[in-house]
């Protein structure tokens, strides 16, 4: 697949393409899924009929259908952004994508009910072990539908709602409608509009006042069939004084022609509540990952984004915290690793809209083998947000002469009583560090890998243990053959 040019590839018939893509797939991954697995597939392309069909299939209320159709109009009207991914964005063929696929008819109640194919994939990803260890609940998304959901009894007893977003719409229509699209309206950007029109799946979490969810809630996503956009929609509401940690992991096997992932994540953190949202994203290197993630923090609330971007062809993702109440806090940790043919346009946004709010943004990016990694961020202090503090630290490593690193911080300050700092450094792996390790008998490749692991350590240590292990393993894999 990697030996063939894009133009040559697109000239092939669909069957030839699939055959080409699947060449060596089983040898490489030890499994593959049959294509006739889906119980329902919308036709390719996007128009009002497809959107209506999606909504009807899901048995949604009328207001949601109207919302979807309005969003489609906005999507069609908005021009494609020219910044960020730039040219690569223009290559997306919106008519060549399935917007909705349903993997199995009913949602499984227990692990035994999950279809065998799906299970095999999860086995490969290590889900069951993880679940046995300390998962509080698993909402795993296979294609566009949540097929497996397991919520520990005590969570239910506490009144915590952890459902797929589709089911939340059915089961808690009023709660859903009160918060849905209030943080990211469809008009926010072109891809938020697209998601709003065709969204499917994702997680819905509501944590009642004062409840601390002790264990991380997790959902494992996976894109599998070719040309499927995943448009999941996650909505988290942490009521006053509550506490929750949500973990989202994405692993896509190397399987497709260009594929599109465009999610929207909305989080509302009420007074004195705290939410942490951790993502490790490892899409295969032909996936467009264009995601809008945003939090609103009320008085005294804390939001923490931990965002790791390893795979994908192009990622444009800038987790945002809007600090609307006095004393709110936002923390964003971001890692981006761009290898061959990858562009990681990652970053963060902190909007200080209330007094005495504070934000910390830490970004680490690594580019290698002609990859392009960067930080694009915004720190904004609005009038009246006196006593605000923000600190941004960006470090970038460039591992060879083909690669590129960018840093674009936007800082917009409209108050005097503030303390705002931004620092960024771009450099190569230190000769002295390398020399030190090699003088102690460590090979160059291993030494490089150790230095890179050390470079991202401040962020990795914030991950749950199994993710930290996975992250380090991913970095090691990416670093293999880096010394030449």
């Amino acid at each position: 697949m990697t030996d063939i040019r894009h133009e040559e590839f697109t000239a092939l018939s669909e069957n030839e393409r699939v055959a080409l893509i699947n060449k060596g797939y089983e040898e490489k991954y030890g499994f593959r899924d049959s294509d006739d697995f889906y119980t329902f597939k919308s036709r390719k392309g996007l128009d009002a009929d497809v959107v209506t069909q999606i909504s009807r299939m899901k048995g949604e209320p009328e207001w949601m259908l109207e919302f979807r159709l309005k969003s489609l109009e906005i999507f069609n009207k908005k021009p494609m952004p020219t910044w960020g991914g730039g040219g690569a964005l223009q290559e997306i063929d919106f008519d060549d994508i399935y917007y909705y696929m349903k993997a199995s008819d009913k949602e499984a109640k227990s692990w035994d009910d999950v279809p065998e194919d799906v299970k095999r994939t999860f086995d490969r990803l290590g889900i069951p072990e993880a679940e046995q260890k300390f998962l509080a609940g698993v909402g795993a998304q296979y294609e566009s539908e949540v097929v497996y959901h397991n919520i520990k009894k005590e969570l239910e007893a506490q009144g915590v709602i952890f459902l797929s977003t589709d089911h939340a719409l059915q089961e808690h229509p009023e709660l859903f409608r009160e918060y849905f699209a209030t943080v990211v309206p469809p008009s926010d950007n072109k891809f938020a509009a697209l998601n709003s029109a065709v969204w499917s799946g994702g997680s819905f979490i509501y944590v009642p006042p004062g409840i601390h969810v002790e264990m991380p809630l997790q959902a494992y996503f996976r894109i599998n069939a070719q040309n499927i956009g995943q448009f999941e929609r996650t909505l988290i509401i942490a009521d006053e004084g509550s506490w929750v940690h949500y973990v989202e992991g994405c692993t896509a096997p190397n399987y497709t022609t260009d594929s599109l992932h465009s999610a929207v994540v909305e989080i509302i953190v009420k007074k004195n509540a705290r939410v942490r949202y951790t993502t490790i994203q490892n899409w295969s290197d032909n996936v467009y990952n264009l995601v809008t993630k945003r939090t609103i923090c009320e008085e005294g609330a804390t939001m923490e984004w931990v965002d790791g971007n390893i795979g994908s062809k192009l990622t444009m993702k800038y987790p945002a915290v809007y600090m609307m109440g006095e004393g709110a806090k936002g923390e964003i940790l971001s890692i981006a690793f761009a290898g061959k043919g990858q562009h990681q346009d990652a970053g963060a946004k902190a909007i200080h809209a209330a007094p005495n709010t504070s934000s910390v943004i830490t970004s680490k990016s690594i580019s290698k083998d002609g990859g392009r990694a960067g930080y694009r961020g915004l720190v904004q202090v609005l009038e009246g947000a006196h006593g605000s503090k923000s600190n941004v630290l960006c470090d970038a490593l460039i591992l060879d002469e083909e690669s590129r690193s960018d840093t674009y911080p936007y800082i917009d300050i409209r108050e005097d009583d503030v303390s705002i700092g931004h620092e960024a450094t771009v450099s190569k792996v230190g000769e002295e560090q390398l020399f030190y390790l090699m003088s102690r008998g460590i090979g160059e490749e291993e030494a490089m890998s150790m230095i890179v692991s050390g470079f991202i350590e401040p962020i990795v240590k914030e991950l749950p243990m199994e993710y930290a292990v996975e992250m380090n393993r991913l970095i090691q894999l990416e670093m293999e053959g880096s010394v030449g």
């Binding site: 460039i398 002469e401 960018d406 840093t407 917009d412 300050i413 108050e415 771009v426």
Partner: protein
Amino acid sequence: MEVEALSAGSVALQSERHGEPAWLRAMRDRAWATYEALPFPDSNRDEAWRRTNVKRLARRMGGLRHAPQSSGKAALETLPDAVQAVLRDDEKRGGLLIRRDNGVVYHELDEEYSAQGVVFMDLADAIQAHPELVQQYLFSLQESNEGKFEAQHAAFANGGAFLYVPAGVVIDRPLQVIHWVDGSDLMLFPHTVVAVGKNGQATVMDEYLSENETGLVFVNSATELILAQGAALIYLQLQNWAENVHHLSFSRASTARDGNLNWTVGQFGGKLTRFQTEAEMVGQGGTALLNGVFFPTVGQQQGNYTLQRHEAPYCTSDLLFKGAIREEGRSVYEGGIKVEKGAQQTDAYQANRNLMLAKNAHADSIPSLEIEAHEVRCTHGSTTSQMDQEELFYLQSRGIPLDPATKLVVEGFFVPVLDRIPLRSVRDRLKESIQRKMAL
């Protein structure tokens, strides 16, 4: 017959009036075509102009005239106080060019330098006296098709300063250029060219002043600084405009092998200003020190757009832009370091520091890095904060009242920029501007 100020006819008329050579006329015609073809930058769409809204300016431009050709030379003593106040002492000055509106009212160059082949005069005069030299350097760094305003400038660029320093010649006293405007409802398109030959050295102070008038004054200027191998240039660009002036400045420098540039931009006046300051390191071993001071207050927006472009290996660039923002003032700092493929061993630094002196001050800071070489060290930093209360307290506890204490702290804030300028007379000129602004 009256010719519209912004028209092809006006381009032709001006070029003919000055008896310009064919190559220049052809360039102007091309520029005019580009100007006509392009829309004005849109702050909703064009990232580079997002924080500079020129809609109102563009609308009012039709009502402006080209600045008049001021007539005749004048004795220094007869020039207004505002101009006299900024002059260096005779013996500390190597040359002086005073422009009023669109003409020259005073011009001198020390014989010591002219005898060595130094050319220092108004650009319009240089086009007549040294056409080949001018052709070599004019628009050698700026392209007329880079944008709407760049094209407008190229079509109408009329007068300005031209300095040529032959190889090996060292000008050890500063040359001063003063652009003085005393009319209103005017447009000006001054252009400064400084070309320093191999191992040559020079210091230039390029200043903009105006009388406070009620009507609009629009200045669209360009500056080209060309440093040959081993050349050294200290260049100060200082605007103390009155508050009716809109100024878009497009400035670019290039350093050949081992060239050494020390470039300071000071912005104190104007209503809406946007200064582009770009250093291109095209030869190995070049050094560029870029220094900036800005100080907007109520009704003023001052923008600084910088670029440190490293095209050759083993170059160093170091930028420090500091701004104090007073009540309802607005500043925009947007700057990039760009390291091209192959520019290994680059050492680049960029810092923007903003001091917020009032609640309703507004500062934007957008430093960026685009790095395509890996054997590099590139760092940038940006801070925005209010005055350090402890520093104020310290001064007050020693009996200094709040007001002078505040001024001391602000002055101290700018000292790190001043310290980067090696020549005292240039440093003093900048310091005077800071003090003058603080007294307002």
